[in-house]
Amino acid sequence: MAHASSPRAGAIRQPLLAYNADHDRHDGRMNENAGHVRAAHDELRRSGLWARCELLLQAPSAAVYAETLHSARHLAMLRTAFLESRGWFCAVCTLENAADAAECMACCTARGRDEGCSFCIPEGKTSVYLCAASLDVALTNCALCAEAARRGCATRTPAFALVRPPGHHASSESFGSYCLLNTVGVTARALLQPSPSAAGAALAQRILIIDWDIHHGDGTQALVLGDGALREACTFVSIHRHDEGFWPKSGGVGEGSGGAAGGRVVNVPLRVRGTATPTTTASSSGWWSRWRRGCSRTRCWCRQGTTARRATCSAVFR
């Protein structure tokens, strides 16, 4: 194998698979439900990959993790909405069992959400339905991910968390789309807390968050720019589809630039061939462009170092 000769290639510890055994309770009428996790789980088992990984199926004290990141108001709102619902409900306007899109839209409007379910109605769907247990599952997911990351940091063990609902559209004060809690944000917070296992120090000093979901990670971006602890320690890179009208429409180049004050955000928006460039793209260039313009090309490249990889990639992309 060509890879074997590389100094970077090497034996990594047996990966950890974090899996919420309770995930079947997370169900919905729309596209967001436990079926995705179930299908991936079945194929991992069938292919034998499952047996080659260490498993993490349970994590302690689920609720405390979410409280480190999300505001009490947000969690209370979610708890009220979920506990009071008897079946499926719209996570946008909290209407239960809407008959059709019009009814849901009317509900959203009545609650002061003028746009209604703007992201689901144009696609011909009635609403974002989650069920009462989805919140429980999301809380457990946060704890599972925090535990997996803690082990990963302490022993340099890679981990994959097979969990749903997703989280990257949720910020500390609000949920977005199907995302109730920002799982990655909660995990980052857990890594930055003083840890008994590290003699009172945090398990990580710096965290790089990469988001390769097709949608812009607007919730995570808001956290990295707004949350004190995350702003200090995190860099967020989102690579996503960004063409006219594609939800959530944010994530243009230069958006949320705040490099000097910490809280680094790098957006890499890509367009699908044949679609229009968004008209709403932020016009100002990012902190990187501004910083780079401030120094000469030569100096800039000197400062960045001259590793082979950098030079190669620079030439490639030019």
């Binding site: 060509a2 890879h3 590389s6 970077r8 290639a9 090497g10 990594i12 510890r13 698979l17 995705h36 299908a39 991936a40 194929e43 991992l44 292919s47 990959l49 080659r52 990984c53 990351a149 990963g152 340099r156 890679p158 981990a159 994959f160 097979l162 969990v163 749903r164 997703p166 989280g167 990257h168 990655v184 995990t187 990580a204 965290i207 968050i209 990469i210 988001d211 390769w212 979901d213 097709i214 949608h215 995570t220 890179v237 989102s238 180049v253 230069g254 680094r264 890499v268 890509l270 699908v272 260039s285 990187w288 960045q304 990889r309 950098r310 190669t312 990639c313 620079s314 992309f317 030019r318």
Partner: protein, 107 residues
Amino acid sequence: MLVSAGYDCAAGDLLGRFQVSSTGFCHLSRLVLGLAGGAALFVLEGGYDVDGSSGHAPLVAGVCASVDGMLQGAMGIEDLPSGWRREVKPQTDAVLDEVEAVLFLMT
């Protein structure tokens, strides 16, 4: 490193219309491991069966490829098979700037 690993960018996903192959996901996760020295957590995000016909196939293939990559171990950009560069075509200088920023932050 934390990765928001959504698989709606996978080849065959009708919503995303991107074309990330299973090999691509395998390489991505191995690159992440190389960068993080093993200390990386991948968290599943999106990936939907939009019209109910794909049977989660793009997501399932992507997840399996990522886990397979983790089992294969870390690698660096220099380990990528030759020819990958031809496939990478940033669309504007602005995007190029951001890519440079990523590379800068990573090194």
